[in-house]
């Protein structure tokens, strides 16, 4: 894929999100830079605690404060800088130009309002529609996300819907204002695989229709391969690898990324009778207190760690085809 010549829709530069942990600032997201183009799907992968969800919350202007805050950096959406923006301004952006689908549809929907009211609320707040128009818009959105008999379903409460239906409602709320950027944080983990496949179809369809840029946060390498154009791997708050999804899945470079891709059992047509042991990444992700330490945070778990890895975070090595990796093995040409 040749890089689009147009400027990126969303541009993040040197973003650092810090949390106050026992009187110290822990950088849960650190020096993060990336771009997102119109119509593109960017995957963010990593284990829990790697900063994926916090990156999403920072883009939404929803970092819980206190104890967290955006300590430095820039988030530009089109011509607008979001990091310094006033809350009133952010409220106009959030839900309208950037919106988010959360992991758990049951806890993210309000149980005491009908799904129609919850879709209409967003439409009225941002688009200035009348109650009547907003309701019509809610029906239209439910139809768009593939809910049968939307005129009837619009009056249902969340508990009356299946998990897949609820997630469709969440997507309808997120898309009602036709945002330029849609962030989906593990949008299908609570769903069955046959329903997951339908939700992903819906994402693609909507993306084709509206040219929405999507950030898909996931831990599933299969989902990365099937859904994303580009991938960013995060570890301990930093980007450690980035590149086209196909190249990444076929040949991850960073030792952590290699571990992530190789540790999952793959569904094959001809499985062996006795399983080969799966690749293991030893140890655990570091806790918040370890984030401010110098060096590469993966070094204690890394099979190829060198003395330099414990002293200094590696510089980013870029290679042709839009790939980059932050690892001393590449920086020193030690591969």
């Amino acid at each position: 894929m040749s890089m689009t010549p147009t400027p990126p829709l969303l541009s993040v530069r040197d973003l650092t999100v810090a949390f106050r942990v026992r009187g110290e600032d822990a950088p849960v997201v650190r020096d993060l830079s990336f771009d997102l183009h119109e119509g593109e799907t960017l995957g963010i992968v990593g284990e829990s605690g790697c900063g994926k969800s916090m990156t999403a919350l920072a883009l939404m202007g929803l970092v819980p404060n206190p104890p967290g805050r955006i300590a430095s950096g820039s988030i530009r959406l089109g011509d607008e800088e979001l990091v310094a923006a006033a809350e009133a301004r952010l409220r106009r952006v959030r839900g309208a130009r950037i919106s988010m689908v959360f992991q758990e549809p049951m806890t993210s929907l309000n149980p005491v309002f009908t799904v129609g009211e919850q879709i209409a609320e967003t439409a009225r707040a941002h688009l200035g529609l009348s109650a009547r128009e907003a309701r019509d818009r809610a029906v239209e959105m439910l139809r768009l996300v593939g809910i049968p008999a939307p005129e009837r379903r619009v009056g249902d409460y969340p508990h009356q819907l299946s998990g897949g239906m609820r997630q469709r409602v969440m997507i309808a709320i997120a898309l009602v204002c036709e945002p330029q950027v849609l962030i989906a944080d593990e949008p299908t983990t609570a769903l069955d695989v046959t329903v997951q496949a339908q939700i992903f179809d819906l994402f693609r369809e909507l993306q084709d229709r509206m040219n929405t840029a999507v950030i898909l946060i996931t831990h599933d390498i299969g989902v990365v391969a099937e859904m994303t154009d580009r991938v960013m791997v995060m570890y301990a708050g930093r980007k450690v690898e980035e590149g086209p999804a196909a190249d990444f899945v076929a040949a991850p470079r960073h030792p952590y990324a290699r571990g992530l891709v190789n540790c999952v059992p793959r569904l094959v047509a001809d499985p062996p009778d006795v399983p080969e042991p799966l690749f293991e990444i030893p140890g655990l992700v570091p806790g918040a207190e370890a984030l401010a330490r110098p060096g590469c945070a993966f070094a204690p778990r890394c099979p190829r760690a060198m003395p330099v890895c414990g002293r200094e975070f590696p510089p980013v090595t870029a290679s042709p085809g839009g790939r980059s990796v932050a690892c001393w093995l590449d920086a020193e040409g030690a591969r």
């Binding site: 299946s162 998990g163 897949g164 046959t194 391969a225 196909a246 499985p271």
Partner: protein
């Protein structure tokens, strides 16, 4: 690294070696609900030979966990028969049931909810030894230590509380606890689905090693086909309380016969398929549409008919029986011809 397992009760010694360790026939489990009854498990049959891992896969609400709980006598069978080592354990109680508990243990899905937060890890693993009076008291501390080593925990970690462990380590404690009484059958109820991917590999490798080294038999519940394919020897696919297909691992993936099995395989995201819009074309649309029907209001006929691309009128009235297709493969579909086609 061996743990001296208490010798199994004499009842199992009397049966021939080739009898399956667990034999389930016509198992039904029902739950009363307001205004009716949910048939959570609507008549399932399967058998697990000693030393094998049997996988039950299906989506939420398919009855896989309930069926497994019934096998462990933690849910009551409304009909059918459960035999453990040839012995009918469907309705045993009192001393007999307590003796069975030593032979069948469970590893739960959520290692956060299944450990007592106020007990130290060592005490958690020791508890079944005391409750079931396993071995002489004087040897129990040594056995706890051996169990910790067996699952890859350090001896000094016995003194810690569950919140001081990571999710993967907690699952190791849960596995050590399940192994304490020297069971023959372990029911693994989604043992890795609450864990991060990197940790899943550690636990799956541990379970595979324990099966090999201790000769354990697993009834393994999962919604993840790749995990089941990795660990299990034979697999049954459940849909709305029934087994729709059952086969040895290789046969199931080489030649899935039921339309639902095929849909599950198709729908599983795969790292090996084509990538992105810029490279090869993206994967085709979802294989099947709609949601599974509610177990509160099951449709007549085949439960899958409403989502099945091959369904005909007969499928909506007639409940298909599980038919033997040879090679250990059985399918509950009126139209499957046994060669991968539909009549």
């Amino acid at each position: 690294m061996t743990v001296p397992a208490p010798s199994p009760p004499s009842a199992s010694a009397a049966v021939p070696a080739e009898a399956p360790l667990l034999d389930v026939r016509g198992l039904e489990v029902r739950f009363p609900v307001r205004g009716g009854v949910v048939h959570a498990v609507g008549g399932v049959d399967f058998a697990i030979p000693r030393g094998q891992a049997f996988g039950l896969v299906g989506e939420s609400g398919s009855g896989k966990t309930t069926a497994a709980l019934a096998c462990a006598r933690l849910a009551e069978a409304a009909a059918g028969e459960i035999r453990l080592g040839g012995e009918d354990v469907t309705h045993i109680s009192g001393r007999e049931l307590r003796a069975m508990r030593r032979r069948v243990q469970i590893v739960f899905q959520d290692p956060y909810a299944s450990l007592n937060p106020r007990e130290r890890a060592g005490a958690i693993v020791r508890r079944p030894l005391d409750l079931m009076d396993v071995g002489p008291k004087s040897g129990r501390q040594a056995r706890v230590e051996a169990l910790f080593a067996l699952v890859g925990l350090r001896p000094e970690q016995q003194a810690l509380f569950p919140h001081q462990f990571s999710g993967g380590q907690r699952q190791r404690i849960g596995i050590a606890r399940a192994l304490a009484s020297g069971p023959e059958l372990i029911v693994c109820d989604e043992p890795v689905s609450a864990l991060d991917v990197a940790i899943q590999a550690q636990i799956l490798n541990l379970l595979a090693r324990l099966k090999r080294d201790l000769g354990l038999t697993y009834l393994f519940i999962s919604h993840d086909l790749a995990v089941v394919q990795h660990l299990c020897d034979e697999i049954a696919v459940m849909y709305l309380g029934r087994i729709v297909e059952r086969a040895p691992k290789r046969a199931l993936f080489a030649r899935p016969l039921h339309p639902y099995t095929r849909a599950l395989i198709e729908a599983a995201p795969s790292a090996d398929r084509a990538v992105g819009r810029a490279g090869a074309p993206r994967r085709r649309a979802a294989a099947i549409q709609g949601d599974p029907p509610s177990p509160l209001d099951p449709p007549p006929g085949c439960a899958f008919a409403g989502r099945c691309p091959h369904a005909v009128d007969r499928c909506r009235t007639e409940v298909p029986a599980l038919r033997d297709m040879g090679g250990g493969q059985a399918v509950a579909c009126l139209r499957a011809d046994g060669a991968g086609g539909f009549v």
